[in-house]
Protein backbone atom coordinates (compact mmCIF):
# COMPACT_ATOMS: atom_id res chain seq x y z
CA UNK A 1 0.00 0.00 0.00
CA UNK A 2 0.90 3.64 -0.48
CA UNK A 3 3.61 5.29 1.62
CA UNK A 4 5.73 3.55 4.21
CA UNK A 5 4.36 5.91 6.84
CA UNK A 6 0.69 6.45 7.03
CA UNK A 7 -0.72 8.90 9.48
CA UNK A 8 -2.84 7.49 12.23
CA UNK A 9 -5.58 9.86 11.19
CA UNK A 10 -6.02 8.26 7.79
CA UNK A 11 -5.89 4.73 9.13
CA UNK A 12 -8.50 5.30 11.80
CA UNK A 13 -10.33 7.88 9.74
CA UNK A 14 -11.23 5.77 6.75
CA UNK A 15 -13.69 3.35 8.38
CA UNK A 16 -15.23 6.21 10.33
CA UNK A 17 -15.69 8.38 7.26
CA UNK A 18 -17.06 5.54 5.18
CA UNK A 19 -19.46 4.37 7.86
CA UNK A 20 -20.59 7.89 8.66
CA UNK A 21 -21.44 8.70 5.07
CA UNK A 22 -23.07 5.35 4.42
CA UNK A 23 -25.37 5.87 7.40
CA UNK A 24 -26.23 9.47 6.48
CA UNK A 25 -26.85 8.77 2.82
CA UNK A 26 -28.79 5.55 3.27
CA UNK A 27 -30.76 6.69 6.33
CA UNK A 28 -33.89 7.82 4.42
CA UNK A 29 -34.17 4.33 2.95
CA UNK A 30 -33.89 2.71 6.35
CA UNK A 31 -36.55 5.15 7.41
CA UNK A 32 -38.79 4.14 4.50
CA UNK A 33 -38.35 0.49 5.40
CA UNK A 34 -39.16 0.83 9.09
CA UNK A 35 -42.11 3.12 8.39
CA UNK A 36 -43.51 0.64 5.89
CA UNK A 37 -43.87 -2.12 8.47
CA UNK A 38 -44.84 -0.16 11.56
CA UNK A 39 -48.33 -0.19 12.96
CA UNK A 40 -50.12 3.13 12.63
CA UNK A 41 -50.43 3.52 16.39
CA UNK A 42 -46.69 2.97 16.75
CA UNK A 43 -45.92 5.42 13.94
CA UNK A 44 -47.81 8.31 15.45
CA UNK A 45 -46.88 7.99 19.10
CA UNK A 46 -44.37 10.58 20.20
CA UNK A 47 -43.51 8.59 23.32
CA UNK A 48 -42.14 5.70 21.27
CA UNK A 49 -38.56 5.39 20.14
CA UNK A 50 -39.04 5.91 16.38
CA UNK A 51 -35.92 3.99 15.35
CA UNK A 52 -37.26 0.57 16.37
CA UNK A 53 -40.49 -1.40 16.32
CA UNK A 54 -42.44 -0.79 19.51
CA UNK A 55 -45.27 -3.03 18.41
CA UNK A 56 -45.41 -6.04 16.11
CA UNK A 57 -44.53 -5.25 12.48
CA UNK A 58 -47.52 -5.14 10.18
CA UNK A 59 -48.34 -5.50 6.50
CA UNK A 60 -51.36 -3.19 6.63
CA UNK A 61 -49.65 -0.30 4.79
CA UNK A 62 -48.45 -2.59 2.04
CA UNK A 63 -51.91 -4.08 1.65
CA UNK A 64 -53.47 -0.65 1.51
CA UNK A 65 -50.93 0.40 -1.11
CA UNK A 66 -51.38 -2.64 -3.32
CA UNK A 67 -55.15 -3.02 -3.06
CA UNK A 68 -56.63 0.40 -2.48
CA UNK A 69 -54.45 2.77 -4.43
CA UNK A 70 -53.39 3.17 -8.04
CA UNK A 71 -49.83 2.17 -7.19
CA UNK A 72 -49.79 -0.99 -9.29
CA UNK A 73 -51.31 0.95 -12.17
CA UNK A 74 -48.54 3.56 -11.92
CA UNK A 75 -45.97 0.82 -11.70
CA UNK A 76 -47.38 -0.73 -14.85
CA UNK A 77 -47.56 2.62 -16.65
CA UNK A 78 -43.93 3.28 -15.84
CA UNK A 79 -42.90 -0.15 -17.09
CA UNK A 80 -44.78 0.26 -20.37
CA UNK A 81 -43.52 3.79 -20.94
CA UNK A 82 -40.02 2.70 -19.96
CA UNK A 83 -40.04 -0.18 -22.45
CA UNK A 84 -41.32 2.05 -25.25
CA UNK A 85 -38.81 4.79 -24.49
CA UNK A 86 -36.00 2.23 -24.42
CA UNK A 87 -37.09 0.89 -27.81
CA UNK A 88 -37.22 4.36 -29.38
CA UNK A 89 -33.92 5.28 -27.79
CA UNK A 90 -32.20 2.22 -29.22
CA UNK A 91 -33.69 2.69 -32.68
CA UNK A 92 -32.47 6.27 -32.83
CA UNK A 93 -29.21 6.16 -30.94
CA UNK A 94 -27.55 2.90 -32.00
CA UNK A 95 -27.34 3.76 -35.73
CA UNK A 96 -26.55 7.39 -35.02
CA UNK A 97 -23.75 6.55 -32.62
CA UNK A 98 -22.24 4.09 -35.08
CA UNK A 99 -22.36 6.63 -37.88
CA UNK A 100 -20.77 9.31 -35.73
CA UNK A 101 -18.11 6.96 -34.40
CA UNK A 102 -17.14 5.41 -37.69
CA UNK A 103 -18.43 6.79 -40.90
CA UNK A 104 -18.23 10.51 -40.72
CA UNK A 105 -14.70 11.15 -39.62
CA UNK A 106 -13.57 13.90 -37.34
CA UNK A 107 -16.66 16.09 -37.53
CA UNK A 108 -18.54 13.02 -36.37
CA UNK A 109 -16.83 13.48 -33.02
CA UNK A 110 -17.73 17.18 -33.03
CA UNK A 111 -21.36 16.50 -33.86
CA UNK A 112 -21.32 13.84 -31.15
CA UNK A 113 -20.25 16.42 -28.58
CA UNK A 114 -22.92 18.76 -29.90
CA UNK A 115 -25.57 16.11 -29.38
CA UNK A 116 -24.19 15.39 -25.95
CA UNK A 117 -24.61 19.07 -25.06
CA UNK A 118 -28.34 18.86 -25.81
CA UNK A 119 -28.46 16.48 -22.85
CA UNK A 120 -27.69 19.52 -20.71
CA UNK A 121 -30.87 21.32 -21.81
CA UNK A 122 -33.20 20.60 -18.90
CA UNK A 123 -36.90 19.74 -18.97
CA UNK A 124 -37.51 22.77 -16.77
CA UNK A 125 -36.50 24.99 -19.68
CA UNK A 126 -38.53 23.14 -22.29
CA UNK A 127 -41.67 22.08 -20.43
CA UNK A 128 -43.82 25.08 -21.28
CA UNK A 129 -43.40 24.99 -25.06
CA UNK A 130 -43.25 21.19 -24.92
CA UNK A 131 -46.69 21.16 -23.27
CA UNK A 132 -47.99 23.04 -26.29
CA UNK A 133 -46.32 20.62 -28.69
CA UNK A 134 -47.81 17.70 -26.79
CA UNK A 135 -51.26 19.28 -26.95
CA UNK A 136 -50.89 19.94 -30.67
CA UNK A 137 -50.06 16.29 -31.19
CA UNK A 138 -53.18 15.43 -29.21
CA UNK A 139 -51.20 13.48 -26.64
CA UNK A 140 -51.94 15.40 -23.46
CA UNK A 141 -52.94 13.28 -20.49
CA UNK A 142 -51.87 10.03 -22.15
CA UNK A 143 -48.88 7.80 -21.66
CA UNK A 144 -47.91 8.71 -25.22
CA UNK A 145 -46.92 12.19 -24.08
CA UNK A 146 -44.20 10.55 -22.04
CA UNK A 147 -43.19 8.04 -24.67
CA UNK A 148 -42.74 10.76 -27.28
CA UNK A 149 -40.93 13.31 -25.12
CA UNK A 150 -38.68 11.25 -22.83
CA UNK A 151 -36.28 10.22 -25.62
CA UNK A 152 -35.26 13.92 -25.73
CA UNK A 153 -33.03 13.22 -22.75
CA UNK A 154 -32.31 9.51 -23.23
CA UNK A 155 -31.20 9.75 -26.88
CA UNK A 156 -28.40 12.35 -26.55
CA UNK A 157 -26.72 10.64 -23.64
CA UNK A 158 -27.13 7.20 -25.22
CA UNK A 159 -25.54 8.34 -28.46
CA UNK A 160 -22.63 9.69 -26.48
CA UNK A 161 -22.23 6.49 -24.46
CA UNK A 162 -22.50 4.25 -27.52
CA UNK A 163 -20.00 6.30 -29.51
CA UNK A 164 -17.45 5.39 -26.88
CA UNK A 165 -18.28 1.70 -27.19
CA UNK A 166 -18.20 1.65 -30.98
CA UNK A 167 -14.89 3.46 -31.11
CA UNK A 168 -13.36 0.80 -28.91
CA UNK A 169 -14.09 -1.90 -31.50
CA UNK A 170 -10.96 -2.49 -33.62
CA UNK A 171 -11.48 -1.20 -37.14
CA UNK A 172 -9.69 -4.25 -38.56
CA UNK A 173 -12.58 -6.42 -37.49
CA UNK A 174 -15.01 -4.53 -39.71
CA UNK A 175 -12.49 -4.22 -42.54
CA UNK A 176 -12.13 -7.98 -42.51
CA UNK A 177 -15.89 -8.38 -42.72
CA UNK A 178 -16.00 -5.97 -45.67
CA UNK A 179 -13.30 -7.94 -47.45
CA UNK A 180 -15.34 -11.06 -46.82
CA UNK A 181 -18.11 -9.48 -48.89
CA UNK A 182 -20.39 -7.98 -46.26
CA UNK A 183 -21.69 -4.47 -46.93
CA UNK A 184 -21.11 -1.70 -44.39
CA UNK A 185 -24.69 -2.04 -43.23
CA UNK A 186 -24.29 -5.80 -43.10
CA UNK A 187 -21.13 -5.47 -41.04
CA UNK A 188 -22.93 -3.10 -38.69
CA UNK A 189 -25.95 -5.34 -38.20
CA UNK A 190 -24.26 -8.74 -38.14
CA UNK A 191 -20.92 -7.91 -36.57
CA UNK A 192 -20.87 -4.62 -34.67
CA UNK A 193 -24.24 -4.92 -32.92
CA UNK A 194 -23.64 -8.44 -31.59
CA UNK A 195 -20.26 -7.55 -30.12
CA UNK A 196 -21.66 -4.34 -28.58
CA UNK A 197 -24.37 -6.08 -26.57
CA UNK A 198 -22.94 -4.91 -23.26
CA UNK A 199 -22.90 -1.30 -24.45
CA UNK A 200 -26.45 -1.58 -25.71
CA UNK A 201 -27.54 -3.14 -22.43
CA UNK A 202 -26.00 -0.18 -20.61
CA UNK A 203 -28.11 2.16 -22.69
CA UNK A 204 -31.21 0.08 -21.94
CA UNK A 205 -30.66 0.29 -18.20
CA UNK A 206 -29.68 3.94 -18.28
CA UNK A 207 -32.71 4.98 -20.33
CA UNK A 208 -35.06 2.95 -18.19
CA UNK A 209 -33.78 4.45 -14.95
CA UNK A 210 -34.06 7.95 -16.42
CA UNK A 211 -37.71 7.24 -17.21
CA UNK A 212 -38.35 6.21 -13.61
CA UNK A 213 -36.55 9.29 -12.30
CA UNK A 214 -38.26 11.90 -14.44
CA UNK A 215 -40.73 14.14 -12.65
CA UNK A 216 -41.30 17.45 -14.44
CA UNK A 217 -42.71 16.29 -17.78
CA UNK A 218 -45.02 13.70 -16.23
CA UNK A 219 -46.31 16.28 -13.78
CA UNK A 220 -46.89 18.80 -16.57
CA UNK A 221 -48.36 16.67 -19.34
CA UNK A 222 -50.46 14.19 -17.41
CA UNK A 223 -53.40 15.47 -15.42
CA UNK A 224 -55.30 12.36 -14.38
CA UNK A 225 -54.09 10.04 -11.67
CA UNK A 226 -54.61 6.81 -13.59
CA UNK A 227 -52.24 7.78 -16.38
CA UNK A 228 -49.40 8.76 -14.09
CA UNK A 229 -46.00 7.20 -13.54
CA UNK A 230 -44.69 6.04 -10.18
CA UNK A 231 -42.40 9.04 -9.80
CA UNK A 232 -45.30 11.51 -9.84
CA UNK A 233 -48.19 9.30 -8.77
CA UNK A 234 -46.68 8.39 -5.41
CA UNK A 235 -45.67 11.84 -4.14
CA UNK A 236 -48.67 13.68 -5.60
CA UNK A 237 -51.70 11.39 -5.67
CA UNK A 238 -50.97 9.22 -2.66
CA UNK A 239 -51.57 12.29 -0.54
CA UNK A 240 -55.29 12.79 0.02
CA UNK A 241 -56.18 16.33 0.81
CA UNK A 242 -53.64 17.20 3.41
CA UNK A 243 -53.42 13.70 4.78
CA UNK A 244 -50.20 11.83 4.20
CA UNK A 245 -50.49 8.07 4.52
CA UNK A 246 -46.87 7.79 5.51
CA UNK A 247 -46.85 4.01 5.86
CA UNK A 248 -48.08 3.36 2.33
CA UNK A 249 -46.13 6.29 0.93
CA UNK A 250 -42.86 4.98 2.29
CA UNK A 251 -43.73 1.47 1.15
CA UNK A 252 -44.21 2.78 -2.39
CA UNK A 253 -40.92 4.67 -2.29
CA UNK A 254 -39.06 1.63 -1.06
CA UNK A 255 -40.59 -0.85 -3.51
CA UNK A 256 -39.80 1.44 -6.43
CA UNK A 257 -36.35 2.60 -5.41
CA UNK A 258 -34.68 -0.66 -4.48
CA UNK A 259 -34.95 -2.59 -7.77
CA UNK A 260 -33.80 0.48 -9.73
CA UNK A 261 -30.88 0.94 -7.38
CA UNK A 262 -29.79 -2.69 -7.66
CA UNK A 263 -29.79 -2.69 -11.46
CA UNK A 264 -28.20 0.74 -11.78
CA UNK A 265 -25.44 -0.31 -9.43
CA UNK A 266 -24.48 -3.19 -11.73
CA UNK A 267 -23.85 -0.84 -14.64
CA UNK A 268 -22.50 2.09 -12.71
CA UNK A 269 -18.94 2.12 -14.02
CA UNK A 270 -20.14 2.30 -17.60
CA UNK A 271 -22.44 5.27 -16.97
CA UNK A 272 -19.62 7.07 -15.26
CA UNK A 273 -17.43 6.54 -18.30
CA UNK A 274 -20.04 8.53 -20.22
CA UNK A 275 -20.20 11.32 -17.66
CA UNK A 276 -16.47 11.94 -17.48
CA UNK A 277 -16.45 13.39 -21.04
CA UNK A 278 -13.04 11.95 -21.74
CA UNK A 279 -11.43 13.74 -18.78
CA UNK A 280 -10.45 10.32 -17.43
CA UNK A 281 -8.48 8.05 -19.68
Amino acid sequence: MAGPRKSLLTRAGRPLVVAGFAVLLAFPFYWMAITTFKQTSDLYNLQNNPFVFNAKPTLEHLELLLHQTLFLRWFWNTTIAGAAVVAITLLLSVPAAYALARLTGRWGQRLGIGIFLTYLIPPTLLFIPMARVVTRLGLQDTLWAIIVTYPTFTVPFSIWLLMGFFKAIPRDLEEAALVDGLTRLGAFVRLVIPISVSGILTVVIFSFTLVTQEFVYALTFISSAEHQTVGVGVPIYLVRGDVYYWGSLMAACLITSLPIAVVYNLFLDRFIAGFTVGAVK
Binding site: M1, G3, P95, P235, C253
Partner: protein, 310 residues
Protein backbone atom coordinates in the same frame (compact mmCIF):
# COMPACT_ATOMS: atom_id res chain seq x y z
CA UNK B 1 -12.46 16.12 -42.41
CA UNK B 2 -11.36 12.59 -41.82
CA UNK B 3 -9.86 12.00 -45.23
CA UNK B 4 -7.64 14.46 -46.98
CA UNK B 5 -8.23 15.23 -50.64
CA UNK B 6 -4.92 13.66 -51.53
CA UNK B 7 -6.19 10.45 -50.10
CA UNK B 8 -9.39 10.60 -52.11
CA UNK B 9 -7.64 11.41 -55.37
CA UNK B 10 -5.01 8.78 -54.79
CA UNK B 11 -7.32 5.83 -54.31
CA UNK B 12 -8.92 3.65 -56.89
CA UNK B 13 -12.44 4.49 -58.16
CA UNK B 14 -13.82 1.46 -56.34
CA UNK B 15 -12.55 2.71 -53.03
CA UNK B 16 -13.82 6.18 -53.79
CA UNK B 17 -17.25 4.81 -54.51
CA UNK B 18 -17.12 2.87 -51.29
CA UNK B 19 -16.22 6.01 -49.43
CA UNK B 20 -19.15 7.90 -50.89
CA UNK B 21 -21.37 4.96 -50.05
CA UNK B 22 -20.10 5.07 -46.50
CA UNK B 23 -20.91 8.78 -46.29
CA UNK B 24 -24.46 8.21 -47.51
CA UNK B 25 -24.93 5.34 -45.11
CA UNK B 26 -23.61 7.50 -42.30
CA UNK B 27 -26.10 10.20 -43.18
CA UNK B 28 -28.94 7.69 -43.31
CA UNK B 29 -27.96 6.24 -39.95
CA UNK B 30 -27.71 9.42 -37.95
CA UNK B 31 -30.33 11.65 -39.54
CA UNK B 32 -33.34 10.09 -37.73
CA UNK B 33 -31.78 10.88 -34.36
CA UNK B 34 -30.77 14.37 -35.44
CA UNK B 35 -34.25 15.05 -36.86
CA UNK B 36 -35.86 13.87 -33.64
CA UNK B 37 -33.60 16.09 -31.55
CA UNK B 38 -34.22 19.10 -33.78
CA UNK B 39 -37.99 18.55 -33.64
CA UNK B 40 -38.35 17.90 -29.92
CA UNK B 41 -35.41 19.73 -28.37
CA UNK B 42 -34.51 22.41 -30.91
CA UNK B 43 -38.08 23.47 -31.68
CA UNK B 44 -39.27 23.76 -28.05
CA UNK B 45 -35.99 25.51 -27.23
CA UNK B 46 -36.71 28.11 -29.91
CA UNK B 47 -40.35 28.33 -28.82
CA UNK B 48 -39.26 29.05 -25.25
CA UNK B 49 -37.54 32.20 -26.49
CA UNK B 50 -40.44 33.07 -28.77
CA UNK B 51 -42.97 32.74 -25.93
CA UNK B 52 -40.83 34.84 -23.64
CA UNK B 53 -41.13 37.83 -25.99
CA UNK B 54 -44.74 37.23 -26.94
CA UNK B 55 -48.25 37.28 -25.60
CA UNK B 56 -49.39 33.69 -25.14
CA UNK B 57 -51.71 32.15 -22.62
CA UNK B 58 -53.21 28.68 -22.48
CA UNK B 59 -56.54 29.83 -23.89
CA UNK B 60 -55.25 32.08 -26.64
CA UNK B 61 -54.48 30.94 -30.16
CA UNK B 62 -52.79 34.01 -31.55
CA UNK B 63 -49.32 35.30 -30.92
CA UNK B 64 -48.37 38.92 -30.54
CA UNK B 65 -44.82 40.16 -30.18
CA UNK B 66 -44.46 42.23 -27.02
CA UNK B 67 -40.71 42.68 -26.86
CA UNK B 68 -39.21 42.59 -23.40
CA UNK B 69 -42.57 43.21 -21.69
CA UNK B 70 -42.60 39.80 -19.98
CA UNK B 71 -39.07 40.19 -18.74
CA UNK B 72 -39.90 43.59 -17.32
CA UNK B 73 -42.94 42.35 -15.45
CA UNK B 74 -41.02 39.30 -14.25
CA UNK B 75 -38.10 41.38 -13.02
CA UNK B 76 -40.45 43.59 -11.07
CA UNK B 77 -41.95 40.72 -9.14
CA UNK B 78 -40.38 40.15 -5.72
CA UNK B 79 -41.10 36.43 -6.01
CA UNK B 80 -38.96 36.26 -9.12
CA UNK B 81 -36.07 38.14 -7.60
CA UNK B 82 -36.22 35.87 -4.60
CA UNK B 83 -36.24 32.82 -6.88
CA UNK B 84 -33.29 34.08 -8.89
CA UNK B 85 -31.29 34.66 -5.72
CA UNK B 86 -32.37 31.32 -4.27
CA UNK B 87 -31.32 29.46 -7.40
CA UNK B 88 -27.79 30.75 -7.00
CA UNK B 89 -27.68 30.32 -3.24
CA UNK B 90 -28.99 26.74 -3.49
CA UNK B 91 -26.63 25.79 -6.28
CA UNK B 92 -23.52 27.29 -4.73
CA UNK B 93 -24.16 26.02 -1.21
CA UNK B 94 -25.04 22.57 -2.49
CA UNK B 95 -21.97 22.33 -4.69
CA UNK B 96 -19.60 23.46 -1.95
CA UNK B 97 -20.97 20.82 0.42
CA UNK B 98 -20.99 18.20 -2.32
CA UNK B 99 -17.44 18.77 -3.50
CA UNK B 100 -15.94 18.73 -0.02
CA UNK B 101 -17.87 15.60 1.00
CA UNK B 102 -17.29 13.83 -2.31
CA UNK B 103 -13.55 14.43 -2.11
CA UNK B 104 -13.35 13.01 1.39
CA UNK B 105 -15.59 10.09 0.55
CA UNK B 106 -13.82 9.24 -2.71
CA UNK B 107 -10.49 9.22 -0.91
CA UNK B 108 -11.87 6.95 1.79
CA UNK B 109 -13.34 4.58 -0.79
CA UNK B 110 -10.26 4.35 -3.01
CA UNK B 111 -8.66 1.31 -1.40
CA UNK B 112 -10.39 -2.01 -1.54
CA UNK B 113 -11.75 -3.27 1.74
CA UNK B 114 -14.22 -5.88 2.87
CA UNK B 115 -17.79 -4.81 2.31
CA UNK B 116 -16.84 -2.11 -0.20
CA UNK B 117 -19.52 -3.31 -2.62
CA UNK B 118 -22.26 -3.02 -0.01
CA UNK B 119 -21.01 0.38 1.12
CA UNK B 120 -20.97 1.58 -2.46
CA UNK B 121 -24.54 0.42 -2.92
CA UNK B 122 -25.72 2.24 0.22
CA UNK B 123 -23.87 5.40 -0.70
CA UNK B 124 -25.30 5.40 -4.21
CA UNK B 125 -28.93 5.04 -3.14
CA UNK B 126 -29.76 8.77 -3.04
CA UNK B 127 -28.58 9.27 -6.61
CA UNK B 128 -30.08 6.12 -8.05
CA UNK B 129 -33.52 6.23 -6.47
CA UNK B 130 -36.06 8.52 -8.16
CA UNK B 131 -35.52 11.94 -6.59
CA UNK B 132 -39.23 12.60 -6.17
CA UNK B 133 -39.44 9.52 -3.93
CA UNK B 134 -36.26 10.37 -2.03
CA UNK B 135 -37.64 13.86 -1.44
CA UNK B 136 -40.93 12.53 -0.09
CA UNK B 137 -38.89 10.34 2.26
CA UNK B 138 -37.22 13.52 3.52
CA UNK B 139 -40.56 15.22 3.86
CA UNK B 140 -41.49 12.52 6.34
CA UNK B 141 -38.15 12.77 8.14
CA UNK B 142 -38.66 16.54 8.42
CA UNK B 143 -42.36 16.23 9.32
CA UNK B 144 -43.66 19.03 11.51
CA UNK B 145 -45.00 16.69 14.17
CA UNK B 146 -43.28 13.34 13.85
CA UNK B 147 -39.83 14.36 12.65
CA UNK B 148 -37.31 11.75 13.74
CA UNK B 149 -34.69 14.50 13.82
CA UNK B 150 -36.70 16.47 16.35
CA UNK B 151 -37.28 13.35 18.42
CA UNK B 152 -33.54 12.72 18.53
CA UNK B 153 -32.72 16.34 19.32
CA UNK B 154 -35.34 16.33 22.05
CA UNK B 155 -33.79 13.24 23.59
CA UNK B 156 -30.49 15.12 23.65
CA UNK B 157 -32.38 18.01 25.31
CA UNK B 158 -31.53 20.32 22.43
CA UNK B 159 -35.10 21.11 21.45
CA UNK B 160 -38.45 21.07 23.15
CA UNK B 161 -40.60 18.35 21.60
CA UNK B 162 -43.73 20.41 22.18
CA UNK B 163 -42.33 23.41 20.34
CA UNK B 164 -40.03 21.79 17.80
CA UNK B 165 -38.26 23.48 14.87
CA UNK B 166 -40.48 23.46 11.78
CA UNK B 167 -37.93 22.31 9.24
CA UNK B 168 -40.08 23.07 6.24
CA UNK B 169 -42.21 25.78 7.80
CA UNK B 170 -39.69 28.49 8.63
CA UNK B 171 -37.90 30.27 5.77
CA UNK B 172 -34.32 29.84 7.00
CA UNK B 173 -34.78 26.22 8.04
CA UNK B 174 -36.67 25.42 4.85
CA UNK B 175 -33.81 26.78 2.76
CA UNK B 176 -31.30 24.78 4.76
CA UNK B 177 -33.44 21.66 4.32
CA UNK B 178 -33.69 22.12 0.57
CA UNK B 179 -29.92 22.62 0.31
CA UNK B 180 -29.17 19.56 2.40
CA UNK B 181 -31.55 17.34 0.43
CA UNK B 182 -29.97 18.55 -2.82
CA UNK B 183 -26.52 17.82 -1.40
CA UNK B 184 -27.69 14.40 -0.19
CA UNK B 185 -28.82 13.64 -3.73
CA UNK B 186 -25.65 14.88 -5.47
CA UNK B 187 -22.90 13.57 -3.14
CA UNK B 188 -23.05 10.00 -4.50
CA UNK B 189 -22.84 11.18 -8.10
CA UNK B 190 -19.83 13.41 -7.52
CA UNK B 191 -18.17 10.75 -5.40
CA UNK B 192 -18.24 8.11 -8.11
CA UNK B 193 -17.01 10.59 -10.70
CA UNK B 194 -14.12 11.64 -8.46
CA UNK B 195 -13.45 7.99 -7.69
CA UNK B 196 -13.05 7.36 -11.41
CA UNK B 197 -10.53 10.21 -11.51
CA UNK B 198 -8.65 8.96 -8.47
CA UNK B 199 -8.25 5.44 -9.76
CA UNK B 200 -6.88 6.78 -13.04
CA UNK B 201 -3.94 8.46 -11.27
CA UNK B 202 -0.97 6.11 -11.52
CA UNK B 203 -0.13 4.71 -8.08
CA UNK B 204 3.57 5.43 -8.52
CA UNK B 205 3.18 9.19 -8.39
CA UNK B 206 1.76 9.60 -4.87
CA UNK B 207 3.95 6.70 -3.73
CA UNK B 208 7.07 8.41 -4.99
CA UNK B 209 6.02 11.56 -3.18
CA UNK B 210 5.52 9.57 0.00
CA UNK B 211 8.98 8.02 -0.33
CA UNK B 212 10.39 11.50 -0.77
CA UNK B 213 8.96 12.31 2.61
CA UNK B 214 5.74 14.11 1.73
CA UNK B 215 3.03 13.37 4.27
CA UNK B 216 -0.51 12.34 3.43
CA UNK B 217 -1.98 15.82 3.38
CA UNK B 218 0.87 17.32 1.43
CA UNK B 219 0.71 14.56 -1.16
CA UNK B 220 -3.00 15.02 -1.36
CA UNK B 221 -3.08 18.78 -1.76
CA UNK B 222 0.03 19.21 -3.89
CA UNK B 223 -0.11 16.15 -6.12
CA UNK B 224 -3.39 14.29 -6.11
CA UNK B 225 -5.76 17.27 -6.11
CA UNK B 226 -4.05 19.12 -8.98
CA UNK B 227 -4.10 15.93 -11.03
CA UNK B 228 -7.81 15.58 -10.29
CA UNK B 229 -8.63 19.10 -11.43
CA UNK B 230 -10.26 18.16 -14.76
CA UNK B 231 -12.44 15.49 -13.24
CA UNK B 232 -13.46 17.72 -10.33
CA UNK B 233 -14.49 20.29 -12.93
CA UNK B 234 -16.64 17.72 -14.66
CA UNK B 235 -18.33 16.77 -11.39
CA UNK B 236 -18.99 20.42 -10.52
CA UNK B 237 -20.37 21.24 -13.97
CA UNK B 238 -22.85 18.37 -13.91
CA UNK B 239 -23.66 19.18 -10.30
CA UNK B 240 -24.41 22.80 -11.18
CA UNK B 241 -26.68 21.79 -14.06
CA UNK B 242 -28.55 19.16 -12.07
CA UNK B 243 -29.09 21.47 -9.09
CA UNK B 244 -29.74 24.75 -10.85
CA UNK B 245 -32.35 23.31 -13.20
CA UNK B 246 -34.08 21.02 -10.70
CA UNK B 247 -37.52 21.77 -9.32
CA UNK B 248 -38.42 18.38 -7.91
CA UNK B 249 -36.85 18.81 -4.47
CA UNK B 250 -38.38 22.24 -3.90
CA UNK B 251 -41.74 21.24 -5.33
CA UNK B 252 -42.10 18.21 -3.10
CA UNK B 253 -40.56 19.55 0.09
CA UNK B 254 -42.01 23.06 0.26
CA UNK B 255 -43.92 23.93 -2.94
CA UNK B 256 -41.69 27.00 -2.90
CA UNK B 257 -43.04 28.07 0.49
CA UNK B 258 -43.29 29.34 3.08
CA UNK B 259 -44.22 32.59 1.32
CA UNK B 260 -42.08 31.87 -1.77
CA UNK B 261 -38.98 31.85 0.43
CA UNK B 262 -37.63 28.64 -1.15
CA UNK B 263 -38.89 29.28 -4.67
CA UNK B 264 -36.30 28.66 -7.41
CA UNK B 265 -36.43 29.63 -11.08
CA UNK B 266 -37.67 26.25 -12.38
CA UNK B 267 -40.36 25.89 -9.73
CA UNK B 268 -41.52 29.48 -10.22
CA UNK B 269 -41.67 28.87 -13.97
CA UNK B 270 -43.83 25.84 -13.28
CA UNK B 271 -46.21 27.66 -10.97
CA UNK B 272 -46.47 30.61 -13.33
CA UNK B 273 -46.45 28.92 -16.72
CA UNK B 274 -48.16 25.60 -16.07
CA UNK B 275 -50.37 26.00 -13.02
CA UNK B 276 -50.91 29.73 -13.53
CA UNK B 277 -51.43 29.33 -17.29
CA UNK B 278 -49.27 32.34 -18.07
CA UNK B 279 -47.12 30.66 -20.69
CA UNK B 280 -45.26 33.82 -21.68
CA UNK B 281 -44.13 34.77 -18.20
CA UNK B 282 -43.34 31.17 -17.35
CA UNK B 283 -41.18 30.95 -20.47
CA UNK B 284 -39.49 34.24 -19.61
CA UNK B 285 -38.62 32.87 -16.17
CA UNK B 286 -37.13 29.66 -17.51
CA UNK B 287 -35.15 31.56 -20.14
CA UNK B 288 -33.13 32.89 -17.20
CA UNK B 289 -31.69 29.38 -16.93
CA UNK B 290 -30.04 29.76 -20.32
CA UNK B 291 -26.99 31.89 -19.45
CA UNK B 292 -25.88 29.35 -16.86
CA UNK B 293 -26.42 26.52 -19.33
CA UNK B 294 -24.34 28.32 -21.93
CA UNK B 295 -21.47 28.86 -19.52
CA UNK B 296 -21.53 25.24 -18.39
CA UNK B 297 -21.73 23.99 -21.97
CA UNK B 298 -18.75 26.14 -22.98
CA UNK B 299 -16.66 24.86 -20.08
CA UNK B 300 -17.74 21.30 -20.82
CA UNK B 301 -16.70 21.75 -24.45
CA UNK B 302 -13.29 22.92 -23.34
CA UNK B 303 -12.82 19.83 -21.22
CA UNK B 304 -13.96 17.56 -24.03
CA UNK B 305 -11.71 19.37 -26.50
CA UNK B 306 -8.66 19.09 -24.24
CA UNK B 307 -9.36 15.41 -23.73
CA UNK B 308 -9.53 15.00 -27.49
CA UNK B 309 -6.26 16.82 -28.12
CA UNK B 310 -4.10 15.22 -25.44
Amino acid sequence: MAVSTAEIEGVRPYARRRLRGARLLGLALFSPAVLYIVALVGLPFALAFLYSVGNVTVGSVGYRFVGLENFRSVLQSPAFRRALLNSFVFTICTQVIVIVCANVLALALRERFRGRGLVRFLILLPWVAPISLGAIGWKWILDSLYSVINWTLARMHLVNLFDPPMWLGEPALAMASVILVHAWRMIPFSTVILLAGLTSIPREIPEAAAVDGAGFWRTHFEITLPMMRPIINVAVLFGVIFTFTDMTVVYILTRGGPYDSTQVLPSLAFFTGVLGSDLAEGAAISVFLVPILVVVAALMLRIAYRAEVT
